[in-house]
Every structure is written in structure tokens, then in C-alpha cells.
């Protein structure tokens, strides 16, 4: 009876209750969605780092990571490979040769890390082969009498391996991408012109488009307008095993895009056999054994097992190789907690305020209830229940809205293409798939109920302190 009356009391002032419920709903949705967005961003970053950059665990000679000494190769590589492959939880391994180098083109040069891989073996540990931009070549699939190199999109741009041009096919693809006709009309004078760099292309764009058009569509136009220069070459210079400067001319095998500008700018992949030959390190030379495991949750245990098996080697997992990722993951978790605390605190204040108003407005009625024999426990329960109902209705609505919107956005992702450059500069994809674990959902539900209960304590105590005779005199 008390609960039924409390439920009816919630709807006594429909507008006020709806405002409170709507604010709780919006607050919970905002909190959960923001957390989902942050989780999604971070998960994608960790996945990208593991799948394309560092994998789960790496083994190398003790001091190799500190000084990148070319001579610190691993011995007994076949035996080590076999031993690791046979360990529980290991999905795949790959051997890499890592050499510091300078990449040169006719117009520019820059320092890079040259990674020698066996493409067939590497495919099993990384999915870099899936990141090759269509139309720019392939993942060492074609036979060539030249040395081949796979370069990152941002390095390609920096070294001017790409160019910009607008032709009829580009205009059609821009039209399909939603660029308005008036903008396309303004681009007409640029059709069939070739631009050697992004700067030159942007300079001409600025001449033809208004600032507003450039802000709204510039990024998309640039994404469609760049093309790879066929049969481009670059020279890679590095030291050989005798510390003598050497190098070679490499044809571009393809251009990869892993949505991480820093990595793309500093990592060039070549075939290990070419690098072994050019450095004179020999056919078995390997600096790193990279291990991909079946379950990320097992990282710590497998790392320990590898340390036991290879005490002379440095064994590091992804959290140790990239402490920034581990730190960011833990920071995001803390940030999420703080964010939810702020949302729940706001929810709490909203409920306290509303319920205090309720107690104030119903002073006479509460006095009457005490007068006719409703004891303090029941008055307390009634006021508490009203607060809990308010927060529960808003909370559950917020959870449902969040779940639906998260499900929808998780399927197609949210594209922050206008800020893509900034995201990719930090190694994050601009296309985010928000994600929330079921545990988080359950935790938030529990927290909403607890917040509702805690928020109602103060107004309920206020109601208890009412003197029935005084309360009945209230007008």
C-alpha cells in the first residue's frame, strides 16, 4: 500500500516528475555514451596496436631495445621458434629484422625504422596486409626484380610519393560522397590538373572554394583527390654489419594506412631476405621474435612462461613495450569512474532538490498521515520509495536509450572525419565504434539504485522531523 501510494505520488506533479526523469535519462545516457565512446576509442587503439604494430609479446636480446645494435641478433632461431610455437596459448609467431635507416626521395629525406619481414609468416601475427590502401599496390604480392618496400600513407605524403589530382572519375566519387553540386562546380577549373604535394593542392583549393566550403568539404575532397605515383621509388640508407653505410633503391610495393600518423611516418616494411642481404647479416638473422596469443587476457601468464623458458632474452608484453597504451587504458578506466561519479552526483542533487520540494509542499498532508497513525518508518519508506522510483524510471529509461543508441552506433560506428587528422596524429581512428561491457551496465544500474536510495535519505529525515500539530497548521 505504501509503495503503491508512493508510486502514485510520483505522478502527482507529472510535469515536474517528467522533467526529473528526463534529466536523469539524459544524464545517464550522456554518461554511458561518453564512456562507450572512450572505451571504443581505447579498445580500437589497443586492437590496432596489437594487430598492426606490436602484437602481444616480443622477445629480443637484452640490450637490443636500448641501442638498436644491428649485431644483437638472436641465435638458434629455428629451435626457439619451434619451442615458442609449442607453448600453450600461442597462436602465431613471426621473426623480424629491425634496422634504423634514412628514407630518401628526390625531394625529401627522413629517419625511419626499417622492418624486415617474411610476408607469409608476418601475416599470421599481424594484419598489416589488410591495411594496404586499395589502388596503391599490394602486400608484397607481386614478383619484382627490384627490392620492394611497404610505406605508410603519411610517410608517402611526406616524401611526396603521392600526388593530388581531380579528374572526372574523382568528381563522380565526390558527388556520390555527398559533395554539393555548387562546390563541385567551383572545382571544375582544377579538373585534370596534377599537384605534386598536398600544400599545392590546398593552395589551389583555397583559391576556388569559400572558407565555409573548405571547412565543410575540404577533408573529403583531399581524401578522394590523392593518388599514388605509379612505380615510385625511394632510397633507403642504413649501416651494414661492418658499420659501413649501405642501402638500396626500393620500389613501392604498396601504401598502408593504419590510422596512426606517427607509426606510418616512421615504419617502412621490406622483405627480410632483402634486408639480410643488404646488411650482410646472413640468412637466419633475426632481431625479434614476435608472439601472437589466442587470448589477450592470458598476456601476463604467457609472458611469464616465456621469461622462464628464455631467461637470457628480454621478454616484453604489449603493456611493457607500449606503456603509454597501458597507462591510457588505466587512465580511461579512472576517467570513466570519475565521469560516472559526476553524473550520479548531479542525479543525486536533482533528486534531493525535488524530494525536498515534495516534502515542503506536502507538509500538511504528511502531518495528517502522522496524525491518523502512519508511523515514522512508513513515512520514511514512502518518501524513500518516491525517490527510488524517480531515479529508477529515469535510470532505466537512460539505460534503454543508451543500449539502443550504442547498439546502433556500434554497428556502423561514428565517423569524426572532420577531426581525422588530429585523431590519427595520436594513433586513434576517427571512425569510432562505441562499446560498453555488460558488467558496466549492471554496475551503473546498481549505482543508480544506490544513488536514488542515498539521495532520498535527507528529504525523508526532513519529513520525519515534522511535528504533526505544526504540520497541520501549515497553509
Amino acid at each position: 500500500m505504501i509503495l503503491r501510494t508512493a508510486w502514485k505520488n510520483v505522478w502527482r506533479n507529472k510535469t515536474r516528475s517528467m522533467v526529473v526523469i528526463a534529466s536523469v535519462t539524459i544524464g545517464i545516457f550522456a554518461g554511458i555514451f561518453a564512456v562507450g565512446l572512450m572505451n571504443g576509442t581505447m579498445e580500437q587503439r589497443v586492437d590496432a596496436a596489437i594487430n598492426k604494430e606490436i602484437s602481444h609479446i616480443q622477445l629480443n636480446r637484452e640490450t637490443f631495445r636500448d641501442n638498436d645494435d644491428l649485431h644483437l641478433t638472436l641465435d638458434s632461431i629455428r629451435e626457439r621458434n619451434r619451442k615458442i610455437r609449442n607453448m600453450a596459448g600461442v597462436e602465431a609467431i613471426t621473426n623480424r629484422l629491425v634496422v634504423n635507416a634514412i628514407a630518401n626521395t628526390a625531394s625529401k629525406s627522413t629517419g625511419i625504422q626499417l622492418i624486415g619481414i617474411n610476408p607469409d609468416q608476418d601475416k599470421k601475427a599481424f594484419n598489416l596486409h589488410e591495411a594496404v590502401i586499395p589502388g596503391t599496390g599490394s602486400y608484397f604480392n607481386r614478383e619484382s626484380r627490384h627490392n620492394l618496400a611497404l610505406v605508410g600513407e603519411d610517410l608517402a605524403k611526406e616524401l611526396n610519393i603521392i600526388r593530388y589530382e581531380l579528374h572526372n572519375a574523382t568528381m563522380d566519387s565526390l558527388r556520390s560522397a555527398g559533395i554539393p553540386e555548387n562546390v563541385l562546380k567551383k572545382l571544375n577549373p582544377m579538373v585534370d590538373k596534377r599537384y605534386a604535394s598536398q600544400d599545392l593542392f590546398v593552395k589551389d583549393l583555397k583559391k576556388h572554394l569559400t572558407k565555409k566550403m573548405l571547412e565543410a568539404h575540404g577533408q573529403k575532397i583531399m581524401e578522394h583527390a590523392w593518388t599514388f605515383r605509379e612505380r615510385s621509388r625511394l632510397t633507403l640508407t642504413f649501416l651494414d654489419k661492418d658499420n659501413v653505410q649501405t642501402g638500396g633503391m626500393f620500389r613501392i610495393a604498396g601504401i598502408y594506412d593504419i590510422k596512426n600518423s606517427m607509426y606510418e611516418k616512421s615504419h617502412v616494411f621490406v622483405q627480410k631476405k632483402d634486408l639480410q642481404q643488404l646488411t650482410g647479416l646472413g640468412a637466419q638473422a633475426t632481431h625479434k621474435i614476435i608472439v601472437r596469443i589466442a587470448d589477450r587476457e592470458q598476456t601476463k601468464q604467457i609472458t611469464e612462461a616465456l621469461r622462464d623458458a628464455f631467461p637470457a632474452l628480454q621478454v616484453q608484453n604489449w603493456k611493457e613495450i607500449s606503456p603509454d597504451l597501458a597507462m591510457m587504458t588505466s587512465m580511461i578506466e579512472k576517467f570513466n569512474a570519475v565521469f560516472m561519479i559526476i553524473i550520479l552526483a548531479a542525479l543525486s542533487f536533482g533528486i534531493v532538490n525535488t524530494m525536498l520540494m515534495v516534502v515542503l509542499e506536502r507538509t500538511k498532508e504528511l502531518g495528517m498521515l502522522t496524525a491518523i497513525g502512519m508511523n515514522k518508518k512508513k513515512v520514511f519508506t514512502m518518501i524513500m520509495s518516491e525517490s527510488v522510483f524517480l531515479s529508477l524510471v529515469g535510470g532505466v529509461a537512460g539505460m534503454i536509450v543508451s543500449k539502443i543508441i550504442l547498439m546502433l552506433t556500434n554497428q556502423n560506428g561514428i565517423n569524426f572525419s572532420s577531426a581525422a587528422e588530429g585523431f590519427e596524429a595520436m594513433g586513434f581512428s576517427a571512425h569510432i565504434y562505441p562499446t560498453i561491457s555488460n558488467t558496466f551496465f549492471i554496475t551503473v544500474t546498481a549505482l543508480i539504485i544506490i544513488t536514488g536510495i542515498l539521495s532520498s535519505v535527507y528529504p525523508a529525515i526532513k519529513a520525519l522531523k515534522l511535528d504533526p500539530a505544526d504540520a497541520l497548521r501549515t497553509e
Binding site: 500500500m1 501510494t5 502514485k8 505520488n9 505522478w11 502527482r12 500538511k364 498532508e365 495528517m368 498521515l369 502522522t370 496524525a371 491518523i372 497513525g373 502512519m374 508511523n375 515514522k376 512508513k378 504533526p468 500539530a469 497541520l472
Partner: protein, 228 residues
Amino acid sequence: MKVLELHNVHKIYNGSEVNVHAVNGITIDFEEGEFSAIVGPSGSGKTTLLNMIGGLDSPTEGKILVDNTDLSTLKTSDLIDFRMWNIGFVFQSYNLIPVLTAKENVEFIMNLQKRPKKERDQRTMEMLKAVGLGDRANSRPAKLSGGQQQRVAVARALASKPKFILADEPSANLDSKSTETLLDIMEELNREEKITFIFSTHDNRVIKKARRVVTIEDGKVISDENKQ
């Protein structure tokens, strides 16, 4: 049989400048089945006296016994329970719960008393019929007139089977016709069911109907007239 006894009851309110002696040494008792009115001008101490009789306020001095129980010996929580089982209240401004129907309002106190559902349903309808509102059981207070709301309040007060009913200015917000109907119903319940009614009023229509009129002024009983 005495249902209510007051022995030298005083109530003093401590004001910031002067103390107000709202009830000043009243000694009086009420028998079962009385239909009495406590009358007096505004500020005479009627409501204070009624609040003390109802256990909503405590006397500064003196004793109030309801059915031989001294109210001052009861703890706050026991006093609430005591009110629930022994005293029915009818307030000037009806004080019904607006989100509940007439039936639910009447049933509310029986719910607090944890009476079985069958008994609650039966008594609720009996009480509503007794006040002439059997057909408005499912109406909310906002859909009822002032007189009808006050009749629901009377039904609610009766539902708990109290020793007596305290009605504080029950006709203050009612027109003549509604007042007459209400008083007729209460008088009939008093005669037929032997329910004790104690009114606090300065309404002549109520005073006329009352069989005993206790007049107080400045917190003192100045006359006690039994019309029977």
C-alpha cells in the same frame, strides 16, 4: 463510561517576548456516545485543546486519559499507534490524499492497521454508504465537492473503529447545505452506532446540533451546557 478525561491541563507556548497560556487548567471529561462541541472565539485555545486530546501535542502540565490510558506515558511511536487505533480525525480542510480515490482514502487507515482485505473492502463500502457516497467510491478528491470530501474524511475517521472522533472546524469550508448534510450524517452515526464526536467549532449550525456545548475563553472553560 468515560472515554476521555482531562485533569488540570495547561499548555504554555514560550514566545520570544511573552509566554502564551493557550490552555489554562482545564478539567473536563467526555462520556461514550457524546455529541459535543467545544466552542469559543478565535484564539480561545480550542484547537490547542483538540490537538492535546488527539495526542498531537502534549500538555505543559496536567493529565489526559483516553480510555484510562495516560497519553503522557506513551512514547512517540506508541502514541502514533494509539492514535491509529483509538482516535479518528476530521480536519477543517479535509486533508484527503489527492492521488488516492475516495475508497482508497477510507481504506488507507485500515491498511495501516493491517486489517484483512475482505474486512477492509466491506467496511470501506459500509462507511462510504453511511456518508452517502457509495456511488463515488472510485472518484478522486479533486472530482468531489468540498462537502463530499469532508464526508469522505468522516468515513475515513470512522473506518478505523476509533473510541471517539475529533473534528476540528469540520464545517469551516462548507456551504449551509453541505454542512447540514454532514451534521445529519454524523448525528445519525452518533445515535445509531454510539460513536462519540467532539467538535471544535464556532459555527452556530454545529453548536445547534451538539447535545453538549463546552465554551472556553482564554484557555479556560467558562461554561459546560448539557442540552439533553
